[in-house]
Structures are given as structure tokens and as C-alpha cells.
């Protein structure tokens, strides 16, 4: 207002102050460009009541302008006001130019024309008139005050104002504009009066409303100017205050507004806020399932995970977000602020994340000088340290201690205090570096990469064909195992006995030794159970060749898993390494045997429910602890078609930094591809051995809890016997002091590990984050991906100690609390009454929260997910890096038929094809072909009415068969080749797992159900909320206790 007022001093009065907010709403709605809106707002109030003539013009204008919404009618306490104008306008400045000419010509016809357009409008007026009065009153009064003030002179300006076309700001424009358009103005006037009268009379209703609807739809704000004047005018006549324009909070969907005009409270928001948050209007009647919510407009992460890149200046040397992501890049400065931030506060670290070409972490050798570290807190040298005392001392950025610069490392400072050799010092310019570790960082010489295989050869393993696939895959990987020529390898197989294999290099065939004493397992041979691969290659090859046939007639149904595990431990304990367990039968003999404690449906919903998800026998946890101590990482491959208590067996992987791969009902014919790809990846990816990781942070804050698959060696030292690029770890931090005084806090992740080549290295990632005292800033800098990652880990941990229901409601509650806090921050001052508001940075949080509640580890109850699958998914999700996790939670759904039908395929088109669709059944057209990709599997969904041509081309003669028995193979058709190419691309985009492609035809139950339909997280399935309901529910709860 202030801006406009220049013309009339009198207006600035307080009353207006109130008004502005109401106006602002437009900006929120999004239709309007934010900036313009603000300008508009002032104009309205400024107009003096006297300005009748202009007003007249206004009405005409108003007819055009979008704006009329229910609000005007409401105001009607006074018949006089046709006023709807208020609502209009704010919109685009650009439009103004246009406005003047056309509008006027059209004016007369305008009103009638509009009416027809709007079908709905007719009814609106009546309701609005009735109900609205009370709510709007207060606002209406406001205008009254100003009235007195308007000087007579005002009139002219007003007139002008309608046509301010040229500039966005109305005020200044008045004089000039007036001159330009005087004629038009005059012409318009006559019409207006008539109009006005009408409006006063009963007719109002029809006229006003009609106008509204059409305009809203059109985002372009027609000249706001016209409408603006009108209000004043009205007010004069009627004596009523202007109706405060009801901002359209519901910007997103016009329908909403129309439908519920009465209920809506007026809302306004300032433009500036647009950057701060987004808002969504949700069913105006909270709780009702509101068809009006336009589900298309809801935020969806269709672009996948977007890493936050809004880092302020000065943090450019931070390590890349793929290594370290904070849940918010603004650290709260006080306890009270932390307690108002209801989301997890912490970090997600993926220390070995794969870097794209050219961005690899550089390796630096400091062996001669020793690695520069802070004397007190042991922080590694990093770009944030500062040199003082002409380069002889450096100040630690984390603990602020002044350290001496070692003589060998000394360099002079230039005039700006930078070291002269800065460009030759990557450790002082890059957030991520790797140091070669000197002897002090070794307790023993670097270990060789070591792979030990523990393979189940009982009857079910033989029948499923698992052994053959495993043997073949291992054999094919032997050349690619990292660490040649030091790599060590060994095998044990087991059924009711444990079999060892002597692979001494001088033998031609491996010697098998069987140990039947399960109570007191021993190693039959001191050496040669674990051999150097390069030396014993021929023996290993011979073994792997004969392994499948060796046991093909085995009828043994027992599994002495525990003793075999102990034996493996004894063999490996000298060196450590990686133990791969292929497990097919529930352990039934010897130590560590497990009971069919089963998937007991009665346990669900009781307090004992969680005990099914934690290991029953302490043996496994104890073993895991021993494994970690001796630098052994365990990966579990589970294949059982029956319940096999993965909760217990998976513990081995969980506490040794490993991974659980689960292939329910494994059949070599169907799953061999997946198994062999994943096993290959597991064996050949770059692995860091005997690693420990620590994350340091500045004074006053501390990492308090760690979440992921690993074991803590001391309070803050994460022991990781074998770690690779597919593992991420999360941690939460808390404030130690009530108030942080520093401006910035620093985080440093240091991973000490042995590379496969035998080098001991320290990988250091350093990042800085500003300390803030404003909750809004924390929200602005929030990192959705990191938050979701931490939330899901917390939720999964929660399922280990309480009911699934509790874990889900926990997620829900945290989101509600966070949104409520955010709401308290902004809603009150900007009167966003009926809208759900949320920070722009967290716009996907509600959806991910919903997806999390529907994810395999948390979904439903007993019947929804088999227990083993639930546990396996839990283990997997505890280790996934942010990007993969987000993809798993909100998988991509891509329509393929168009692409396949198109003749050519170039790279550009690929990108177009990869357009992700919302995960709802509405996205699935029965004439289409879709692929669903969650990073772990692909599902090809064939619409019922898909052209048979496509199906024939892709599946050949199998097209008519039941798709569960059909496997997709490349055929001799162009289409099939294109499809396979596309699937290949999809798989390449996420190589950590192999996505097996399942085929499903629409309506093919129950497969379609559990493969696709339950995964459409936005839909309402089996008693869970759909996206819209979820939002409505969130919104209601946010408001309830606000």
C-alpha cells in the first residue's frame, strides 16, 4: 500500500494494514506472478471512495478480470456493492497494457457474456450472501475508515488507475495513464453506472459470480486496476466497507473455491512468502473426502531425488552431497530450536559413493610429513582451517585450537591470508580427499581382499538350482575379484555335516573333508582351506565346476548352519574379509538352530509382535560381534521358499556392515539372472576392507545415535569390516550446549580403510553449515532426501521394538508436528487459515511419509507381507543410500507403448520417454504398456486393451499365455530390441541391484495385485490412505492442535 499511497497520503491509515494480507492471497494461489501481486494490493485500498467514475470503469473491467470470487458476494451486506473487484486483480502487470483497449470495447457485452460462461456461478451468490456476512464483516469495516480521508482530487487519479497499464505500480502511473485514456474512461463510465445499479439490485448474484469462475481459471490477471477502484466506490455508495477481497487460497484449484466459498476464511499471504513455502488447499471441509482436491496438482517427486544445491556462498568447498547430506543445511543454535524442529536432525553419509568420471577423490601422500591433524580433536586438515601467524600456525575449524604448522608443510601467506601454494594443495581446496595412511594407522599390514563362501547344499538348495547359479557366477567373477594377485578365497559347504575343501595349489582336484562333530566343530587342516586365488586358480576352477554335480543327489534336509558358521569364522579369523552365506534351509542342527517360531498371526497387534522381527537366539548377535571384531563382513543370500527366520540370520549382516539379499522361492529358471548379477556386483565392486569410520563435528554439537548396518566399536567409532559404494549410514546429532555461539559448524567424516590394492587410506569429507536462530531458515534449507532416509531408518528400528502400527504412527506424527510447527510460523501472520502449508524444500515429505508407511517393512500387518520379506526389506532399507531409497519409496512408472510404436529412437527421445507418472491407478491406461521400476525390480504392465500388435512383437507366441510363465527375451523385432535396450538403460541407472523384469497383465489377479496395485502408493489400498486422504488427514491434524 505504501507504495501506492504516494498519491494520497491519507490512506496509509492503519485499517489498510489489515487489508493487505487479504489481498496477498493471490500470490499464494500461484496463478499470479508473485511480484505483481504486491503491487496491486496497495492500489485498492488507496482509492478514495469518491472515485465513482473510475469505478464504473472498474466494473467493466471487472467483468473481464478474473477475479470475482465468492468473496465479493459475501460482502454484500450492502446491496450496493457489486464490488467483487477486490479479488481480482492482482495478477499480471503485463496484462494491463492489453487491458485498456479490448476491455473497454467489450465492456458492455462483457457482463452477460461472462455469465453464460460460468455454469456454476449462479448458485454461488446466494449462498455467499447468506453465510458470509459474519466472517467478512470485520474486514468490510476496514475500508470504511479510509473513506473519510480521500481528497476530492483523488478522483482523477482513480480514473486513471484503471488503465495504469504501463507500469506495474499503479500509483505513479495514474496521471499519465489518465491522459492517455481519458476518452475510454468516459465511455466506460456510462455503462458502469448501469451495471452498478444492477449489481446493487438482486441481479448482483448472477453477474458477480459468473465473472469469477472464468477468470480464476485464467491465470493471467486481467487488469487488476479496474477492479480495484470499484471497491472503493462501492464502499462509498453502500457505506459499507469494501469487502476485503478474499484471497484465493485455493489457487491450485479453482473448483475448490467455488464450491466452498462460505466456509473459506479469508486468507492472504505475502508475496515474499512464496519463496518460503508452498501451500496447498485441501478440502475446505476438513476430513471430508474432497473431490475438489485436484490430485494432479499435488507435489510429486517425478524428477527423482534432487540434491539440495542451495548452499549459500562460502560453502562451495563442501564435499559433494553424494557423500554427506545433512537433514537441514542450517544448524539450529539453541536447544529450544531443536525441540521445535520435529524432524530428525542429523546426517546421512555414504563415504564411498561412486563419483562420476572426472570427479574422483584425489589421493594425497603425506607419509613423509605425517598427516596434518589437530592436536586436540584430531580433525584432519581441510579447506576450512585458517592459517595465522604468517603461516606458522593454523587454527582448527572444529575445535578452534591453534596448532603449529609442521616445517615441511609451511608456506607463506599472501596479502589476503591465503597460502601461496594453495592451488597445489587439494586438501585445502577440496571437501573430499584421500590420504595415504602412514604406519601409525595400521595395526597390521594391509589385509588382502578375502572372499569366503559358505554354501548350503541341502536338498532344497539343490532342487532350486541355486548351487549351480552360484558356482557359475563365482567362477565367472574369479578374474575380476579385486586385489589380484593377493586375493584369497575359500569354501565351506554344509548340510547336516560341514564340508571343508583343501585347495592347495599343488593339487589338481580339491580334497573334500567332512566334519560330523557338530557340537565341537574343528578345522581339519591348518592351511589351505583359504588359499591365494592366483596360485590355486586351477583347483578353485575345478571345485566350482564340480560343485553342482557333487551334491545333485543329496537328499539331506538338515542344515548345520551354526557349526558351519563357526568353522568359517575359525578359518577366516586370522585375516578377516568377506563371508558370503548362501542359505536355503532353516538352521536345524547344532548351535544356532532356529525354531519355526513362525509367522504367528496371533502375535500381530500384541506387544509381542516385534519379537518376531528380532533375533531369537543370542548366538547370531554374538557371532556378528565376533565377526566384526575380526574384520569379517557378512553378506547373506537367502533363498528359502518357506519361513527361515531371516530376522535371526540377517543379524549377521546387520552388525557386520553387510547386506541381505533375499530371493523368496528361488528358482534358477526365473531368478538366476538376478542372483548372478547381484552376486557379481557384490564380488567385483570396489570394496573397502577393515574400515572404521568416525564423524566429527564442531564444538557444542555431538552425534548421539547411529543408524544403519554396522557395529559401534566405541561411542562414536563405526566399525565396518567391508564397505562399498552401496552402503550409507545415518546419524542424528544433538546440541550439547544450550546455545551455539559460533556462526558455522563443521562436519568431518573420516573413513580409514584398506583398499583392495593393499593401500591403507583415509578418506575425509568435510562440510560446513551455517548456524541459524530462525526456524524458517531451517525449513528452507531442509533436505528432503536426508530427512526421509533418517525417518525411514528410525521407523524400521522402531519396528524392532514395537508394533508396526506404532512405527507408522510415529512417522505420521513427526510429519504432523513438523508441519504444525511450520504452520505456526507462518499461517497466523498471513492468515493462511484453511490451507495446508509446507516449506518448499519439504513439499514431497508428506508423500514420502505415506510411501514409507506403505513400504514393505512397515506395511499392513500379518497378512500383507511375509515376515521374511519384511525383515529382508528392513535390512536393505537400513543400508540404502538416499537416492536409491527415495526411488524405492516412490518408484518410477513409465509409459512405453508410444515409444515402442515410434519408429526411431535416439538419445534425446530416451529422455522424453523416461517421464515418470504419478503412482496411481489412474495413470495406467488399459491401452498402454507401462514399466514400473523401484530399483529392486521391474514390472511390465500390459493393459487389457493394449494393441495385440505390441504384445505379439514383444512376447511372440507367448502373448496369449498367462504372463506369470512367460519370460521376456529379446526377439527378432525392432520393438523388442527397443524395449530391451530401454530396460537395460533403466538397469544401468541403478546398478547396485539387478531389476528382474516381471510381466503382468491388467486384471490378472492376484499377481497384478501384489506386484503393481499395492505398490501404487498414492492409491487407497487395503485400508490404507490414498495420497489425497493422507493429506487431508495430515491437514486436519495439523490444524487441530495448531
Amino acid at each position: 500500500m505504501g507504495t501506492e499511497n504516494p498519491g494520497r497520503p491519507s490512506f496509509p491509515a492503519s485499517p489498510f494494514a489489515a487489508a493487505p494480507p487479504t489481498i496477498t492471497p493471490f500470490s499464494n494461489s500461484g496463478h499470479v506472478g508473485g511480484s505483481e501481486a504486491s503491487n496491486l494490493r496497495p492500489t485498492r485500498p488507496s482509492f478514495p471512495p469518491n472515485t465513482l467514475p473510475p469505478i464504473t470503469a472498474g466494473p467493466a473491467g471487472s467483468g473481464e478480470p478474473p477475479a470475482f470470487r465468492p468473496a465479493p458476494p459475501t460482502r454484500f451486506n450492502d446491496p450496493s456493492l457489486p464490488a467483487p473487484p477486490s479479488s481480482y486483480g492482482p495478477p499480471a502487470s503485463g496484462t494491463f497494457n492489453r487491458f485498456p483497449t479490448p476491455p473497454f470495447g467489450s465492456m458492455p457485452p462483457g457482463p452477460p457474456a461472462r455469465a453464460p460462461l460460468v455454469g456454476q456461478p449462479p448458485f454461488q451468490p446466494p449462498p455467499s450472501q447468506v453465510s458470509p456476512p459474519p466472517p467478512f464483516r470485520p474486514q468490510g469495516q476496514i475500508p470504511a475508515v479510509p473513506m473519510g480521508s480521500p481528497p476530492p482530487g483523488v478522483n482523477t487519479p482513480q480514473i486513471d488507475s484503471p488503465f495504469p497499464a504501463s507500469r506495474p505500480n499503479f500509483q505513479p502511473s495514474f496521471p499519465p495513464t489518465a491522459s492517455g485514456y481519458p476518452a475510454t474512461g468516459a465511455s466506460s463510465q456510462p455503462t458502469l453506472p448501469g451495471y452498478v445499479k444492477q449489481s446493487n439490485a438482486p441481479f448482483q448474484a448472477p453477474q458477480g459470480p459468473p465473472v469469477q469462475s472464468p477468470f480464476q481459471a485464467t491465470p493471467v490477471g486481467y487488469a487488476p486496476s479496474a477492479p480495484t477502484p470499484t471497491p472503493h466506490y462501492l464502499s462509498q455508495q453502500g457505506g459499507l466497507a469494501q469487502a476485503p477481497p478474499v484471497a484465493s487460497p485455493y489457487g491450485l484449484h479453482s473448483r475448490d473455491q467455488i464450491q466452498h466459498p462460505g466456509t473459506m476464511p479469508p486468507m492472504g499471504s505475502m508475496q515474499g512468502l512464496i519463496e518460503d513455502f508452498s501451500s496447498l488447499s485441501i478440502g475446505s471441509v476438513p476430513g471430508s473426502i474432497d473431490p475438489g482436491v485436484d490430485s494432479k496438482a499435488l507435489p510429486r517427486p517425478l524428477d527423482g531425488d534432487v540434491e539440495p544445491n542451495s548452499l549459500p556462498e562460502g560453502y562451495s568447498v563442501n564435499c559433494n552431497a553424494r557423500y554427506l547430506r545433512l537433514t537441514t543445511n542450517a544448524i539450529p543454535n539453541s536447544q529450544s530450536l531443536v525441540s521445535r524442529w520435529h524432524l530428525p536432525l542429523g546426517a546421512v553419509v555414504c563415504p564411498l559413493a561412486e563419483a562420476p568420471e572426472g570427479e574422483e577423490v584425489s589421493v594425497l601422500n603425506f607419509v613423509s610429513t605425517g598427516i596434518i591433524r589437530c592436536r586436540r580433536c584430531r580433525t584432519y586438515v581441510n579447506p576450512f582451517i585458517t592459517f595465522t601467524d604468517s603461516g606458522r600456525k593454523w587454527r582448527c575449524n572444529i575445535c578452534a585450537l591453534l596448532n603449529d604448522v609442521p616445517g615441511d608443510y609451511f608456506a607463506h601467506l599472501d596479502a589476503t591470508g591465503r597460502r601461496v601454494d594453495l592451488d597445489q594443495r587439494p586438501e585445502l581446496t577440496k571437501g573430499s580427499v584421500e590420504f595415504v595412511a602412514p604406519t601409525e594407522y595400521m595395526v597390521r599390514p594391509p589385509m588382502p581382499p578375502l572372499y569366503f563362501f559358505l554354501i548350503d547344499v541341502s536338498i532344497s538348495a539343490v532342487r532350486s538350482g541355486m548351487i549351480e547359479v552360484v558356482a557359475k557366477t563365482i567362477k565367472s567373477c574369479l578374474d575380476d575379484l579385486p586385489g589380484y594377485p593377493r586375493t584369497q578365497i575359500g569354501f565351506i559347504t554344509y548340510d547336516s555335516t560341514v564340508h571343508f575343501y583343501n585347495m592347495k595349489s599343488s593339487l589338481t582336484q580339491p580334497q573334500m573333508m567332512v566334519v560330523t562333530d557338530l557340537e565341537d566343530i574343528f578345522i581339519p587342516l591348518p592351511d589351505d582351506l583359504l588359499v591365494n586365488l592366483s596360485e590355486s586358480r586351477t583347483v578353485v576352477d575345478a571345485f566350482l565346476d564340480s560343485l553342482p554335480t557333487m551334491f545333485q543327489d543329496n537328499l539331506n534336509m538338515e542344515s548345520a548352519f551354526g557349526p558351519a558358521l563357526k568353522a568359517a569364522f575359525m578359518v577366516m579369523s586370522q585375516l578377516g574379509g568377506k563371508l558370503l552365506i548362501f542359505q536355503n534351509t532353516m538352521p536345524s542342527l547344532g548351535v544356532g538352530r532356529l525354531k519355526l517360531r513362525g509367522d504367528d498371526p496371533r502375535a500381530y497387534g500384541t506387544d509381542k509382535e516385534h519379537s518376531l522381527r528380532v533375533p531369537e537366539d543370542p548366538f547370531y548377535k554374538q557371532m556378528a560381534a565376533d565377526f566384526t571384531k575380526y574384520q569379517i563382513g557378512v553378506n547373506v543370500y537367502a533363498f528359502s521358499d518357506k519361513y527361515s527366520d531371516l530376522a535371526s540370520i540377517g543379524t549377521l549382516a546387520k552388525y557386520t556392515g553387510g547386506q541381505v539379499y533375499y530371493y523368496p522361492s528361488f528358482q534358477a529358471a526365473n531368478h538366476s539372472e538376478k542372483l548372478s548379477h547381484e552376486l557379481t556386483r557384490d564380488l567385483t565392486r570396489e570394496t573397502a576392507w577393515e574400515a572404521v569410520m568416525r564423524i566429527r563435528c564442531g564444538k557444542g554439537i555431538r552425534f548421539t545415535s547411529y543408524h544403519g548396518n554396522f557395529m559401534l566399536r566405541s561411542t562414536d567409532l563405526v566399525a565396518l569390516p567391508a564397505v562399498d559404494c552401496d552402503k550409507a549410514y545415518a546419524m542424528q546429532l544433538s546440541l550439547e550446549e544450550t546455545l551455539l555461539t559460533n556462526q558455522t559448524v563443521y562436519f568431518q567424516v573420516a573413513l580409514l580403510y584398506t583398499a583392495s590394492c593393499g593401500e591403507r587410506r583415509i578418506r575425509v569429507h568435510t562440510a560446513a553449515a551455517p548456524v541459524v536462530s530462525d526456524l524458517g531458515e531451517m525449513y528452507r534449507q531442509a533436505d528432503n532426501g536426508a530427512i526421509v532416509s533418517l525417518l525411514s531408518r528410525l521407523a524400521i528400528e522402531k519396528t524392532m521394538s514395537s508394533k508396526l502400527e506404532d512405527a507408522r504412527s510415529n512417522v505420521h506424527l513427526r510429519i504432523v508436528k513438523a508441519l504444525r510447527e511450520y504452520r505456526n510460523l507462518y499461517a497466523v501472520q498471513h492468515r493462511l487459515g484453511g490451507r495446508l502449508i509446507y516449506p518448499e524444500s519439504l513439499k514431497f515429505l508428506p508423500l514420502y511419509g505415506l510411501a514409507l508407511c506403505k513400504s514393505t517393512p512397515l506395511r499392513g500387518g500379518y497378512a500383507d507381507v511375509p515376515l521374511d520379506e519384511r525383515c529382508a526389506a528392513g535390512f536393505t532399507m537400513m543400508a540404502l543410500p538416499v537416492k536409491s531409497l527415495l526411488k524405492l519409496l516412490y518408484p518410477s512408472l513409465i509409459q512405453l507403448d508410444d515409444y515402442l510404436l515410434k519408429p526411431s529412437a535416439n538419445a534425446d527421445e530416451f529422455r522424453k520417454v523416461m517421464k515418470r507418472l504419478p503412482l496411481t491407478a489412474d495413470s495406467l491406461d488399459s491401452r498402454g504398456l507401462y514399466v514400473y521400476d523401484d530399483g529392486l525390480q521391474l514390472v511390465l504392465w500390459f493393459g487389457r486393451m493394449l494393441s495385440p500388435d505390441i504384445a505379439m512383437n514383444l512376447l511372440g507366441p507367448d502373448a496369449a499365455a498367462e504372463l506369470s510363465r512367460v519370460t521376456l527375451v529379446e526377439r527378432e523385432t525392432e520393438m523388442s530390441r527397443k524395449l530391451m535396450l530401454l530396460l537395460k538403460k533403466l538397469r544401468e541407472s541403478d546398478p547396485s541391484y539387478y531389476q528382474l523384469c516381471h510381466l503382468v497383465r491388467q486384471g490378472e489377479q492376484p499377481r497384478e495385485g501384489f506386484m503393481v496395485l499395492t505398490k501404487l502408493v498414492e492409491d487407497q489400498t487395503g485400508g490404507t490412505n490414498g495420497y489425497v486422504d493422507w493429506l487431508v488427514q495430515l491437514h486436519r491434524q495439523v490444524q487441530q492442535n495448531a
Binding site: S368, M442, P445, P448, P485, R486, E759
Partner: protein, 218 residues
């Protein structure tokens, strides 16, 4: 029987390679490894030591040879024939020089030649059993004369360095203590002076005070 094998650079004691899973059956293996490391550190200070030596430690013996600025060391039982141990080290030396010769001087990180451990492992196995035909033949071979190789005790070897350390420590203590002595002497001197003249000064002071008071009052 060979228990431990370590290879290090003499000039700075930087470890270059070590046998794989060494010391499996040795109790207190860490202690012996510490001793070896201390020994390596000492080597640089004693360039005049013989290039072959045996050092007794507990139930074991360290045998080492120094050649081309590299020290090859192994730890064996006392009963293990010295001749075989040195044969073993010779084998290692030949292979190590053949494979890594040129890079030894430039190696910049510890265990830069850790890949050599596979060879160590392999060779070690050959020497494991003293009764094999091959080893007996070597034992009987007169070519290698090991009688004159000096045998010393580990305490002695490590002690040389220690004694030197002690001397320098003592001398430095002497300097610092003499400085303290000088300070103290100066201090005492001053005190004696004060003690001597203080009474006189006080007496004079009182007298003057009385005078002053007297002139003021009367």
C-alpha cells in the same frame, strides 16, 4: 619354523612388506612385532653393524640380513637351523630385489610392496619342514657359512640405542639442572644481602621517622 617375516627399508625403518597371517601360533605376537619395529628404527643409527645377525628374544630368534638398504628379517624357533633361516632370507632377498629393486628408494608409503606377501607365503612353506629332502640338502651344503654370524641378545641390541638415549638424556638433564642451580645461587645471594642490611635499614628508618614526627609535632 618361520614365525614372522618382515621387510623394511633401513634408511627410515619404513616397512615394505610382511608375511601374510604371520604369527598365527605365536603367543604375544604383538610384543615381538614391536621389538622388530624398534630394531628397524635402530638400524639407521648403526650403519656399522654387520649385515647379518641373529638376535635372541625369548624362545625365538630374529635373523636378519641387510642388503641394498633393505633389511629382511625373520623370526624362528631357537631350534630352527640357522642355516635354513638365512637361506630363506637369501631367497626372499633375491626375489625382492628382482621384482621391486628399482622402486625401493622411491617407495613413499608403508607396505608399498605388500603384494610380495604371496611370495613370502610360498617360500615360507618350503622352509616349514626341516626334514624335507630339499632342506636337508641345503643344510648339508657347505657353501653357506653361517658360523661366524654374530648372535646377540635383543636387550643388548635394543639397549645400544637405549644407552645412547640415556646419555643424551643425562647430559640434557645436566644442562638444565645447572641452569637451575645458577638461578638458585643468584637468588640466595640476593637473600643474603637483604638479610644483612635489612636490620640496619629498619633502624635508620625508625630513627628518621621519629625525627620527622618530632619536627612536625613540636
Amino acid at each position: 619354523m618361520v614365525k614372522l617375516t618382515m621387510i623394511a627399508r633401513v634408511t627410515d625403518g619404513l616397512p615394505l612388506a610382511e608375511g601374510l597371517d604371520d604369527g598365527r601360533e605365536v603367543k604375544d605376537v604383538e610384543l615381538y612385532k614391536q621389538q622388530v619395529k624398534a630394531l628397524f628404527k635402530n638400524l639407521a643409527n648403526r650403519p656399522n653393524d654387520p649385515s647379518r645377525m641373529s638376535v635372541e628374544t625369548g624362545p625365538y630368534v630374529f635373523h636378519y640380513i641387510i642388503e641394498g638398504r633393505v633389511c629382511y628379517l625373520t623370526m624362528c624357533d631357537r631350534a630352527y637351523p640357522k642355516k635354513l633361516a638365512f637361506q630363506y632370507l637369501e631367497d626372499l632377498k633375491n626375489e625382492f630385489e628382482r621384482v621391486n629393486g628399482p622402486q625401493i628408494e622411491t617407495a613413499a608409503r608403508p607396505y608399498a610392496f605388500i603384494k610380495f606377501d604371496t611370495f613370502i607365503q610360498r617360500t615360507k612353506k618350503l622352509y616349514q619342514d626341516t626334514h624335507t629332502q630339499r632342506n636337508i640338502a641345503k643344510l648339508n651344503d657347505e657353501l653357506y657359512e653361517v658360523h661366524q654370524i654374530m648372535t646377540r641378545n635383543v636387550q643388548e641390541v635394543l639397549g645400544v640405542g637405549e644407552k645412547l638415549d640415556q646419555v643424551s638424556e643425562m647430559s640434557s638433564r645436566l644442562t638444565s639442572e645447572s641452569r637451575i642451580y645458577a638461578d638458585k645461587a643468584r637468588d640466595l645471594n640476593r637473600q643474603a644481602l637483604i638479610r644483612k642490611w635489612a636490620p640496619v635499614a629498619i633502624v635508620f628508618g625508625v630513627v628518621f621517622l621519629l625525627f620527622w614526627v618530632k619536627t612536625k609535632i613540636w
